[in-house]
Amino acid sequence: MTPQASSPPGLDEVLAAVESALRDGRRRLAEAAATPGSFAAAQREVLGKRSALASVNALLGGLDPDGRRQAGAALGAARKELEEEANRLEAVVAEAERRQRVAAERLDLTEMAIGPKTPPLSHSGRGVGRLHLVTQTRDELEDTFVAMGFAVAEGPEAETDWYNFEALNMPPAHPARGMWDTLYLRLGEPGTVLLRTHTSPVQIHLLEAGELPIYAVMPGRCYRRDTPDARHLPVFHQIEGLVVDRGITFGDLAGVIEAFTTSFFGPAIHSRLRPSYFPFTEPSAEFEVTCPICRGEGCRTCSGSGWIELGGCGMVDPNVFSAVGIDPERYSGFAFGFGIDRLAQVRAELSDMRALIDNDIRFLRQF
């Protein structure tokens, strides 16, 4: 196809060369696609600087302007077609290669299930793993309350406004709603579906179920739109307690909190209640326990006060009973709640709560 110096090829010859380059190129690509590992080379050969197409291109200079236009158009069309074909085949080849690789890597996972009994992990010499510090704390709390005669109840983390606020004596625009920064979900009417800001909605589910009396604790994950810092996480865990029965008193609430405190922390740790406010309890209280680090002497953890604020509690507000159709004159009850992560932080003397969500095994291994 080297042009002869004496007589430059005419238009017909050039067009024929284009035609033949196209035909050969198609065939070459098709062959290469069928031969594993050869496609990239064929692609260069057909479309690269030393391809037949490139050689024909060099002939265009010898044509008159009209012929050059005509041959140029034919050449362009041929190149385009070959490029498209190459791209199409490249994908086919890649898929075939992937399938081949996949086939070559095939494992019969059932072999591993019935293989030798030696666990494949044992040779790592790492020993036993760990439950997360928060799980350990939660289990311990559950066990403490179970021993006190409580059931453990759970509920959904995504809730409607009714369960998280309204049934808990917080109608829309209630100022107390500002106590919780709420994360809403893009579902239904705006502002109706949310991530629970506390475990209290589980109380409503239990009360609605209507099986009285109720002696239950409700642990679970909660959400608030708070910037994380050393003492707060936007995703955190709470445990809540609810007792509803005939003749339940505030004295019972204080007694249960004290019984929990001594059995969970040990006999040297006591509790005290102070008036506080929650829309869903009346009277309300916050409860504090003797600082378990210094045992009441005063230290950095308790800011020298000897007491750690643990959570909130109170007598179930009559409006909550009314919302779920229970007669507050016949039944009374109390509720309490506190943060599991916060408790774990205090007990483990953990300086920054964010370590809980890093999942660094050097951290997890300590507990």
Binding site: E105, R106, L109, T110, E111, M112, A113, I114, G115, P116, P120, H123, S124, V128, G129, R130, V134, T135, V146, G149, F150, V152, E154, P156, E157, A158, E159, T160, P175, A176, R186, L187, G188, G191, V193, P213, Y215, R221, D245, R246, I248, T249, F250, G251, D252, A254, V256, A259, L273, R274, P275, S276, Y277, P283, E286, P318, L356, D358, N359, I361
Partner: protein, 803 residues
């Protein structure tokens, strides 16, 4: 709420030690977050006049200052502050002084220059104020050498920083805090006399006032005050405001803030001459009406918002929330129209929330201000203003009081002594209740049949139910005095964990016992996380995420666990094997309902050390075997399948005996692992706890353990790669029946001679009968049966392996 003790003492003696007062406040529910002692330890600090300021020859950031400390001599101090000039009066802590906080001043050389003491900023003296420069005293306020505390009128004081709950709007002022304290301490509480207000001057006249939205604004009072002083407020008032956390600005504004902090009435002082028509009108805003509020922000209002306008109809403020930028008082204002009003709490809450506007007024009005307070606040305002320097000539017009039936009256509540004791577990008598409640302002008549008819004071309107009064009784009696009891209960039930909770714990125990670490990953994912893990990106979105990287609810535990792996790898942690038990959230099938929550187990595991990369997926498979074993789940199967996010030929569905999908196991697709920055192979196990726990389990029944010897035999078969080893094992086990004790695949072997796509599977079979020793003919028969069964599945016997 910051409450200076000296201010509280306007109302009651309160002479107990501050620590005791703090304790009482906390026990009343006005929790003291901190107690600041101010103005103490200033005995050594004196006022000094700046005589000269010179550059330090050897330093750029500090200068040499000569001051006159009272003796007329120039005393050289090295100083790093730049906010003062020659002639200014500044506090000097001379050599030998000890500052609040215990910092002792000595003679020091700084870069070769002697400093004979220290010039102080406000925080260095334990005072509120900026710390980036010296505290500069007002010009002419004292002569050099005068004790600083004397010059500033600084009596030592104590400031309680109180956390006041939303149910205690009455305690957002000094009067209210003092009332609680006095009641708890058994001290008398009374309104202070205060400076007398000038009598009403009829010649001043009244401003025109109309209220067209009495439901939003049930009470509005307007009072003209003429001849208001224009200078700064006196030191005592500026100091009280500062200690209470507000910045002194000028006489009228300071008195306005003072009255709010003192008695609890938010109020607003308008520049009367800037008000069109010289008066005010109150109406609902028109849809889309706009107003620039004091903070300089233009607000769009609507018919639920209460608008204060001048008598010409031009808006001048959002009622009860924030004033407008228009009729603001400036330092030269002498003719003032004073607003003291009462706005409907719910309306204020709505408006404030919608506009995102926080103000001292909003906080008070939305929680509930005393509706009867306005006249007292006006008296106090006028009296204080007249008492300020330059206020002697203040003249006061009559107060126009637009009061509508929407204004709440005092609730009357029936309080049963028996109910108090039933709910609290106390044994209070009929005599106790009046004694406890009257000091707070509740009026109790003699009880009828143990029931009191209680009239609630106008400042405690939120006490509208019996239970609210019971809380007050408990508060005044003292929570700590209520005897702690154990619920007697009617029909106590015993507690316990549910089966689900017990089995979930079991799974956690099995995995941690096997060397896995439990992780806790976030419920939130970034928008691309699921797609990058090869999973369906469809997920529930968070409407108002804190950050875009936390805007999607996870539908799988995989992305979070991959992130946790990556976090550990970045810290050179090795031998990683993590698991998590947590909720995932599927988008609801129909619009408007809740996400579908389910609890899942996720396990990620990397290959160990330099071992074969397939140990990762093998470990994941073993995890499943252990879990199924611990749960006594027999007959589950591992069914090879191409699954999202997993290696196409290294993944399987886990099926229960009845074919229910329980989860999946496999190797994470390499593209997915790489997308999370993990280069190697990752084994994965995902289980639905509900599905697994829902399967029928082997009952906990004891089968006798055989006392006869076991017989072992090894069988090797050649099988195509598409024949799972477990299927062959199942056939063998089926043939062995009850006699099978154990079956292990002990060798997998590939060789060209076996042919491409084929492998040898060698099984070690342990057989044992419950009632006899198996004899040779029986074993031979069993062997034949097992071979036949395997052959029927496509396994060709390969001949006895050696041994």
């Amino acid at each position: 709420m910051r409450a200076p003790l000296s201010w509280l003492r306007d109302y009651a003696p309160l002479d107990a030690p501050p620590a005791r007062l703090a304790e009482v406040l906390s026990e009343l529910g006005l929790v003291v977050e901190s107690t600041e002692h101010v103005g103490e330890g200033l005995d050594d600090v004196v006022v000094a006049r700046v005589l000269d300021i010179r550059a330090h020859p050897a330093a750029d950031r500090i200068r040499l200052v000569d001051v006159d400390a009272g003796d007329g001599e120039a005393l050289q101090i090295v100083c790093g502050a730049w906010n003062f000039a020659v002639g200014d009066l500044v506090p000097l802590a001379p050599v030998g002084a000890v500052l609040p906080g215990g910092f002792a001043i000595g003679r020091r050389k700084m870069r070769g220059e002697v400093s004979n003491g220290m010039l102080c900023s406000a925080p260095e003296l334990g005072l509120p104020g900026p710390g980036d420069g010296l505290l500069v005293l007002p010009p002419g306020s004292a002569a050099p050498g005068v004790p600083f505390a004397e010059a500033m009128g600084l009596e030592p004081d104590v400031v309680f920083d109180l956390d006041v709950g939303p149910n205690r709007p009455d305690a957002l002022c000094m009067a209210g805090v003092a009332r609680d304290l006095a009641a708890a301490l058994g001290e008398a509480w009374s309104w202070p006399a205060g400076p007398p207000a000038p009598p009403v001057d009829p010649s001043i006249g009244t401003a025109p006032l109309s209220v067209d939205a009495p439901d939003l604004c049930p009470r509005f009072t307007a009072t003209v005050l003429d001849g208001a002083p224009t200078g700064p407020s006196p030191v005592w008032m500026a100091r009280r405001l500062t200690l209470a956390g507000m910045r002194p600005i000028g006489a009228v504004v300071d008195v306005s803030n003072y009255v709010m902090l003192d008695v609890g009435q938010p109020n607003h002082a308008y520049d009367l001459d800037a008000l069109g028509g010289g008066g005010l009108s109150v109406r609902r805003a028109r849809p889309g009406e706009r107003l620039v509020t004091l903070d300089g922000v233009e607000r769009a209002l609507g018919p639920d918002d209460c608008l204060i306008c001048d008598a010409g109809g031009t808006p001048v403020g959002v009622g009860g929330v924030m004033g407008g930028a228009g009729a603001e008082i400036d330092p030269s204002t002498t003719r003032v129209l004073l607003e003291a009003a009462w706005f409907a709490p719910a309306a204020i809450a709505r408006t404030g929330q919608r506009l995102g506007l926080h103000s001292e007024a909003r906080v008070r009005f939305e929680r509930g201000v005393d509706p009867e307070l306005a006249p007292r606040a006006v008296e106090r305002f006028a009296g204080l203003l007249a008492s300020l320097p330059g206020g002697e000539a203040l003249r006061r017009g009559a107060t126009v009081d637009a009061r509508s039936p929407h204004l709440p009256g005092r609730p009357r509540v029936a309080l049963r002594t028996s109910r108090v004791n039933d709910l609290l577990g106390t044994a209070l008598s009929e005599d106790d209740l009046p004694r406890l409640l009257r000091p707070l302002g509740f009026r109790l008549e003699d009880p009828v049949g143990g029931t009191f008819d209680v009239e609630v004071p106008s400042w405690r309107l939120e006490c509208s139910r019996e239970v609210d009064l019971i809380e007050e009784v408990a508060r005044m009696w003292g929570y700590r005095r209520i005897e702690r009891t154990v619920p007697a209960g009617s029909r106590r039930r015993t507690g316990g964990l549910t089966a689900f909770q017990r089995e979930r714990r079991r799974i956690r125990q099995v995995l941690s016992g096997a060397g896995f670490y439990e992780a806790w990953t976030s419920t939130f994912l970034a928008p691309g996380d699921l797609g990058q893990a090869g999973l369906d990106p469809l997920a529930v979105e968070v409407e108002n995420p804190l950050d875009r990287s936390e805007s999607v609810l996870r539908t799988s535990l995989l992305p979070g666990l991959l992130k946790a792996l990556r976090f550990n790898l970045d810290r050179q942690n090795e031998d990683l094997a993590l698991f998590e038990v947590g909720r995932v959230f599927a988008p609801p099938a129909d619009e408007g309902s809740l996400p579908v929550e389910s609890e899942r187990l996720g396990v990620v595991v990397l290959p160990f050390g330099a071992a074969d990369a397939s140990t990762a997926v093998a470990a994941a498979v073993r995890c499943w075997v252990w879990v199924a074993d611990a749960l006594r789940l027999d007959g589950a199967s591992i069914d090879a399948a191409e699954l999202p996010g997993l290696h196409p030929s290294r993944a399987a569905r886990l099926l229960g005996p009845s074919g229910t999908i329980l989860g999946e196991v496999g190797e994470v697709a390499s593209e997915a692992a790489r997308a999370y920055g993990i280069d190697g192979r990752v084994g994965w196990l995902g289980l639905s706890l509900d599905a697994v726990f829902g399967e029928a389990r082997r009952p906990r029944l004891a089968a006798d353990v055989s006392r006869y010897p076991a017989s072992a035999l090894d069988l090797a078969f050649v099988a195509g790669d598409d024949l799972p080893a477990a299927r062959l094992a199942g056939a063998i086990a089926g043939a062995a029946g009850d006699l099978l004790e154990d079956l292990v695949l002990f060798d997998v072997y590939r060789d060209e001679r076996l042919g491409a796509g084929r492998r040898s599977l060698a099984y070690h079979v342990t057989l044992r009968a419950a009632d006899r020793t198996l004899d040779e003919p029986e074993l031979a028969e069993l062997r034949r049966a097992m071979i036949a069964a395997a052959s029927a599945e496509g396994g060709e016997l390969r001949g006895e392996p050696a041994g």
